[in-house]
């Protein structure tokens, strides 16, 4: 079963440099899917912090993606490299409380195959659901 059909709540932090029209594109998908998807555009994926990822999971996301530019193509030089390290750190933290590290995933876009954020999100939603609903779902306390 794919992630959309499984009803998984997906949160996507993404570098807005990957899609110049991200504002329009993501809003269209947000309207279509409602609470199942939440987008957080970032000026650069290097802005992502482990705290953002933890709060997203705590707020009820079943799966959190961080979408970056291709390595070597960051407008701010190494933001995407930092994002990768912070995801790895947070994966270690959630493993300590028994959550699967797969709940956080890095998506590095391809330089040769640019996509809009809604296209990418649809691809992610169509992926096989390898994890179930989060056991920590609930309102952020």
């Amino acid at each position: 079963m794919d992630q959309k059909s499984a009803g998984l709540s997906i949160t996507i932090f993404f570098c807005q440099q990957i899609d110049p029209n991200q504002d329009v594109n993501r809003r269209a998908l947000e309207r279509e899917l409602g609470k199942q998807i939440r987008f957080f555009p970032l000026p650069c994926s290097g802005r992502i912090d482990p705290l953002h990822l933890m709060r997203a999971l705590e707020s009820g996301a079943d799966k959190v993606y961080v979408v970056t530019c291709p390595e070597g193509a960051c407008r701010y030089r190494e933001g995407n490299v930092r994002a990768k390290k912070r995801i790895a750190y947070t994966q270690g933290l959630i493993e300590e409380i028994g959550l699967e590290r797969e709940r956080l995933e890095l998506i590095v876009t391809s330089a040769g195959n640019p996509v809009t954020i809604d296209e990418l999100a649809r691809e992610l939603l169509a992926r096989e659901a390898s994890i179930g609903p989060s056991p920590v779902k609930g309102k952020y306390a």
Partner: protein
């Protein structure tokens, strides 16, 4: 700066297990600089604890607070109106901060979330190194501002030991030989003469071995 590292969450959970209302208190000074006990780390740990409780069907309440310093009464006093609402305080301060809070609130249970490690410097982003033992008898003036007690693996006052290779310590090749640094720096300053003096073993009884040390300055007291 005092450095520290977070304890494993399993160890923290064990300390908190019997309690429901938890106040997580960070410290905005040294441990914030070394990314182990500042506001952000309080948020990360609190989130983790809340999620862990929810996943295991346990109801807990976790409140986050960060003081500018946990080792000075004027800042600790900010807890006065809130601390008694909680069953336990999880402190993300160094050992000094944990004990300072405990002393101000003798009836409140306070446990540490960090392992205090050493006095050090931020060498580069994400790298902290020990460079002071707080021995109470600083000889940096003689050793070109490189502490042989801390930075030489053998703690030699009269080095070098002769075991270094390519200016690296034979005990740990990742570490520069402290005595190589001392000699090079003194050479650059034209003060190699300082090394003519033979230093007797440190008299640790000056400060160590007498229980907790104190600094008392009348001009600072009220």
């Amino acid at each position: 700066m005092i450095t520290a590292e977070r304890k494993p969450i399993a160890e923290i959970k064990e300390m908190l297990a019997p309690y429901r209302k938890i106040l997580v208190v960070g410290c905005g000074s040294c441990v914030a600089e070394c990314a182990s006990g500042g506001e952000k780390e309080v948020g990360l740990l609190s989130s983790a604890l809340r999620m862990d409780a929810k996943a295991s069907g346990k109801e807990i309440e976790v409140k986050e607070m960060t003081l500018d310093r946990q080792c000075v009464y004027e800042f600790i006093d900010q807890l006065t109106d809130v601390i008694h609402r909680y069953d336990i305080v999880l402190s993300l301060a160094c050992g000094a901060g944990v004990q300072a809070v405990a002393e101000v609130f003798p009836k409140v249970l306070i446990v540490p979330a960090l392992n205090t490690t050493f006095l050090g410097e931020t060498k580069e982003a994400g790298l902290w190194v020990e460079n002071c033992r707080g021995c109470g008898d600083c000889k940096l003036g003689v050793f070109a501002a490189v502490c042989p007690v801390t930075r030489c693996a053998k703690g030699l006052f009269n080095g070098p030991c002769g075991g270094s290779r390519t200016e690296r310590c034979e005990v740990d090749p990742d570490v520069p030989c402290a005595w190589q640094l001392i000699v090079s720096r003194l050479e650059d300053m034209g003060r190699l003469d300082l090394l003519r003096k033979v230093h007797p073993p440190a008299d640790w009884s000056k400060q160590q071995g007498k229980g907790p040390r104190k600094i008392r300055r009348e001009d600072q007291r009220t």
